[in-house]
């Protein structure tokens, strides 16, 4: 039983709460701590059958992607139709997409943590996991795109005896450093934040699982000294992660912005990329929230009021993205560079026009659906909307990369329309399979709802309710 902190009788409490609490609660404050442990630990053992459907479907996709990659590796990048001028194709577009997805974890864990938004507590763990697995997937695309996998270390900042590689003035070297730092820090942040929960798993698990959790929990005991150090460390790493996340996507944007290519050479690219990253991350959180809620029976923790808050956050960020998009169009349209302007006109009216319009509609118009309460309260509608937003954000990355290559400075490029072939599509699908497989495995092995944070949440909310009740009792005239 959870520690009891209120002593007003139930009927009085209900009567007072009705006056003071008009909105739905994020979580049931009266849930017992032991129940929280039981519910979350049960998710590690008996998920709904949908879990296995998703897991095996993602495994199949992943294996298909591996087969395509092996074929490309053995035969050469030509089988992916990658040749001048389209040298990046879907690989770099999808690389940016996965990097963008990774920003959601930082948003929920770090930004909302330092702003004391406690509604994030039941859901931040899976967002952090999403960050880590997105980055791992993004990192794979650097390798896939290289073709010559054995030369991957050219992008690392190692000593420069040969005077050819690495090119320290290339943003690609900055990219490798930034992504490596972000991935390392994200894994540390994810693991570190899980240690108290791993100790709970350790106390309940037996056999090999027990050994596994005992090893990972590092002997955590929950002493006052451990908690105090834990809090400061968690907050410090959270504060360090925020500028890191911004720098990572800014540097990815710099890959494009420092080039002279029309359509890329704009100063608004870094904030535009960061906003797009947060946007796609939030949309992905909605999708995964809905899947996890059902698959692992987390209806008591991943509640509709929390989902509604994420929807509002997603809408707000979508408007920031829309604004930055419009700024980019306006600065090109009213600017003096005819090539930039031609590239924009080509996007809106050329071969890729349906995609460009789809991107704008999915990214800027569809989010308005989230302003309707009926949409925010319908799980199935939200699932569709979130998938559409994700699709829009993927198309955005495709529209950044491909049309510029098809409409550069040289007229001979203008007849080279390009569409991805089955090898590229297979590898892209494989990356989604890889991400989903890792994510679902994580949720099966590790607690995807933070038990100690949910306990804190209900404890503090009960305490706040006690204060409210005491204040109400002291003001009988207003009752």
């Amino acid at each position: 039983m959870a520690p009891e902190i209120h002593d007003v009788d139930h009927e009085t409490e209900v009567a007072i709460e009705r006056r003071f609490v008009a909105k739905a609660k994020d979580i049931d404050e009266d849930i017992h701590w032991a129940q929280i442990n039981e519910d979350v630990l049960r998710s590690l053992e008996r998920p709904r059958p949908l879990f296995w459907v998703i897991f095996f479907a993602s495994l199949a996709l992943f294996l298909y992607g591996v087969a395509c990659e092996v074929y490309q590796y053995k035969t050469g990048l030509g089988v992916a139709d990658l040749e001048n001028p389209q040298v990046w194709g879907l690989y770099i577009a999808t690389f940016i997409f996965w990097i963008g997805m990774s920003h959601s974890g930082t948003l929920l864990s770090a930004i909302l943590h330092i702003t004391h938004a406690d509604w994030r507590k039941p859901i931040y763990r899976f967002a952090e996991a999403m960050t880590t697995f997105s980055l791992m997937t993004a990192g794979l695309f650097v390798l896939v795109h290289l073709g010559r996998l054995w030369q991957f270390y050219y992008v690392a900042a190692y000593p420069n005896e040969r005077w050819a590689w690495p090119n320290f003035t290339s943003p690609l070297v900055w990219d490798a450093t930034a992504i490596g730092t972000y991935l390392t820090s994200s894994i540390i942040f994810l693991y570190f934040g899980m240690i108290p929960d791993l100790a709970i798993c350790r106390d309940k698990a037996t056999g090999l699982r027990g050994v596994f959790y005992r090893f990972l929990s590092l002997g955590w005991l929950g002493t006052d000294r451990q908690w105090a150090n834990f809090r400061v460390t968690y907050l410090t790493v959270a504060c360090l992660l925020i500028p890191l996340a911004v720098s990572v996507h800014s540097i990815v944007a710099t890959d494009f912005a420092v080039s002279q290519q029309p359509g890329w050479h704009t100063t608004s690219f870094p904030p535009y990329f960061v906003a797009g990253a947060l946007y796609s991350g939030c949309a992905a959180i909605i999708t995964l929230f809905i899947i996890l809620r059902y698959t692992f029976r987390f209806e008591r923790y991943m509640t509709m009021p929390i989902l509604e808050k994420i929807c509002k956050l997603t809408f707000a960020i979508s408007m920031v993205w829309t604004y930055l998009n419009l700024i980019e169009y306006a600065s090109v349209w009213y600017g003096t560079d005819p090539y930039q302007k031609q590239a924009l006109i080509f996007r809106a009216t050329g071969t890729y026009a349906p995609w460009w319009w789809s991107m704008n509609i999915l990214g800027s118009v569809v989010p308005f659906a989230l302003t309707f309460k009926a949409v925010r309260n319908s799980i199935s509608t939200l699932m569709i909307v979130s998938l559409l937003l994700n699709l829009g954000m993927w198309i955005e990355r495709f529209m950044i990369v491909t049309p510029t290559f098809a409409h550069g400075y040289y007229p001979w490029l203008w007849t080279r329309d390009w569409w991805p072939n089955w090898v590229q599509v297979g590898i892209i699908l494989g990356s989604f399979g890889w991400f989903t497989m890792l994510f679902m495995l994580f949720c099966k092995i590790f607690p995807s709802v933070s038990m100690y944070e949910v306990k804190e949440m209900v404890y503090h909310r009960r305490a706040a309710r006690k204060v409210r009740l005491a204040q109400a009792a002291a003001m009988p005239s207003e009752a």
Partner: protein, 174 residues
């Protein structure tokens, strides 16, 4: 050290645990110090932990050390990695290009700071550690524990204080 006894009491809420800590502090029992009293709980409770006295956290100093070392050594490492003093530099090419190095230095500054912060925390936790025989799994569920290390003759009065404050379970070792 080996002749010390350990006493663990479990409480159902933080309020009782805080009262028990205050009673221990005021008791003047010989054979234990407040520094040897440890609060164990499923969540952090700074107010209750404050009853134990000032227990400063020094993590931030390590974060700062990591940030300073990361910035300085990061720049030096990158510069030494890219500098090539064995051949004639072509005109216009800097041996160490500062602006690109600042980007990489920035990343290393954060990475080193994160490493130092987490390593410092693990050191201050004294982890990986072994659980004592008095470890109770209920603490990771919903109970609050108070562990006192004391001389054997102090165990009885300590237990008496815990009983007075409605401890649910009291155990001691050896």
């Amino acid at each position: 050290m080996s002749d010390k006894a350990h006493t663990l009491a479990l409480f159902s809420d933080f309020h009782e645990a805080a009262l028990a800590i205050a009673a221990l502090r005021q008791s003047h029992i010989r054979g234990f110090k407040m520094a040897d009293v440890t609060l164990k709980s499923p969540i952090e409770h700074p107010e209750c932990a404050a009853e134990l006295g000032d227990r400063p956290v020094y993590i931030q100093l390590f974060s700062l050390l990591g940030a300073v070392l990361g910035s300085g050594l990061g720049f030096l490492l990158i510069s030494s990695a890219q500098a090539n003093f064995l051949r004639q530099q072509r005109g216009g090419f800097p041996i160490v290009p500062v602006p690109p190095n600042m980007v990489i230095t920035y990343e290393l500054f954060i990475l080193t700071s994160v490493f130092f912060t987490v390593i410092a925390c693990v050191i201050f936790w004294k982890l990986p550690g072994r659980r004592s025989r008095l470890y109770n799994v209920e603490i990771s569920v919903d109970k609050i524990g108070l562990l006192v290390k004391s001389d054997p003759e102090a165990v009885a009065p300590i237990k008496e204080i815990f009983s007075r404050h409605h401890a649910l379970e009291i155990s001691s070792s050896p």
